[in-house]
Symmetry: C2
Subunit: 324 residues, 2 copies
Amino acid sequence: MGEFDLIARFFTRPVRRAALGVGDDCALLAPAPGMQLAVSSDMLVEGRHFFAGVDPAALGHKALAVNLSDLAACGARPLAFTLALALPRVDEPWLEAFARGLLALADEHGCELVGGDTTQGPLNICITIFGEVPAGQALLRSGAQAGHDIYVSGTPGEARLALDALRGQLHLPAATLARLRPRLERPTPRVALGLALRGLATSAIDVSDGLLGDLGHVLKASGVGADIDAFATTDLLASSACHESATGQIDQNTLLQCALAGGDDYELAFSAAPAQRGAVQAAAAASGTPVTRIGRITQEPGLRLLDRAGQALQGRFASFDHFA
Amino acid sequence: MGEFDLIARFFTRPVRRAALGVGDDCALLAPAPGMQLAVSSDMLVEGRHFFAGVDPAALGHKALAVNLSDLAACGARPLAFTLALALPRVDEPWLEAFARGLLALADEHGCELVGGDTTQGPLNICITIFGEVPAGQALLRSGAQAGHDIYVSGTPGEARLALDALRGQLHLPAATLARLRPRLERPTPRVALGLALRGLATSAIDVSDGLLGDLGHVLKASGVGADIDAFATTDLLASSACHESATGQIDQNTLLQCALAGGDDYELAFSAAPAQRGAVQAAAAASGTPVTRIGRITQEPGLRLLDRAGQALQGRFASFDHFA
């Protein structure tokens, strides 16, 4: 099966929203008047971003989910994407499952595959995604202001707990792993929340590399610092991770590490003025996405982790400072 | 050096035409009113699209050139691009040279790097490019009509001759190889010609996989066939390849193969009405790009190669028929 048959068979579908889709030198997109196009690219490499042998349907889902998450963090509505795929060989069942997982999530978000490239090579998936956002309304990293609240969606750390359990570095009850594993393999991009936060959040980022590290990018772009309640997210994670068991089986340090620096969460971290607390919770409820207030933007630069008493957390967690 | 330092150091430059460039979750593009956005992705893999150890500046040039060529084939004006890069290791001199080659060509075309991704993995370069074209004016593969002339720009086959010489499969005088090698390693995307052909060409494609194979895509998309003068491009190639030597040193079959199916040309093949012959040559002259008339679109499907007498070419070249 040649390159062109492969595209036609697995990835070509009728054009819906684009002016022209797969099968010419370029796809043609026409953003609505007054709209800016939000664009993001992510590349996933076997062994680095996913295990060799991972379920191809889950991989198709995740490859698009991480890109949708970037649109969510800008408050952009998904429009279309391109897919470039390097494959060691043409494996039809694998491609069929990959396309199924990919296109199911695409359909869920009305996001159309408009073009791409396939080639022979070590397995590599590169998606570039396009969304629309009204000019001037995109959520940026640079808008955080001193005094604003800091929030995060969902329960950061669940994906990392699942990863550590799958790697054999941590024991989880089978039922807990079964519940957390989709957080790693089939993350839910927070697109609806991102749209609901337009005009409300003053900055936003998606949490892909770990909550504190990604917050550090916001602080740097905004020229501010932050006080973070270390236990706000850790308590959420503890409650999630110990759901199937009466006694907590994971030590507090592991929970802190996973919640604050786990990575692969694809949650949104954002700031908003304290006067908007009710509006933020209403946006969260309207989009069906739980959000938790985890700290406060400060004029003083740097990122400080606070314990339950509001005192600076000592010891190994001081090392998180280097992200700020 | 981490991912973020690498982007900042080698690839971040002040935003010019985009609303927002490198360094947020998404870049923001705002096409001008009435414009459609032309989008194309190409992935280049070591060992498949370029030799291991190729000059990184030439590789940076070529990675963008093949994408610009897709915009050219749609008659789109380059606007911006994203770069996703998998690298086995952070090699600063390599990255510096790659960025230099890439950004020099980008500057030449006013095409801005607005975002991307870097990761550790087998060397893989994925560029997604964006161009603007007035709504309804894009050059498509589907517009060829029976009776229209078929043209190609430049001299298809030069890149393949250089490739075969570098692989040791063909002898070329050193001066000839030195002249042809940049056609392989630093192709010139025909952006100016593509713009000049708006409203003039009835179909277009960029020649990346070989002239006849790519023409086959146009014929299929347009529901037509073609008679191709096999020697129109072959004579051009012979004249180019034998420029440094009084006697031709390359046999006719090799020249035919390279000219008609060599690949890696990044020339434009296009159709236009016979009444436009003067206008096509004027567009070619205005864009500084030679074009040659090589055949005619037919109602009868299939692609026929004709000899100098206008008779069907017999023998091994009949095999080109399968492209149609």
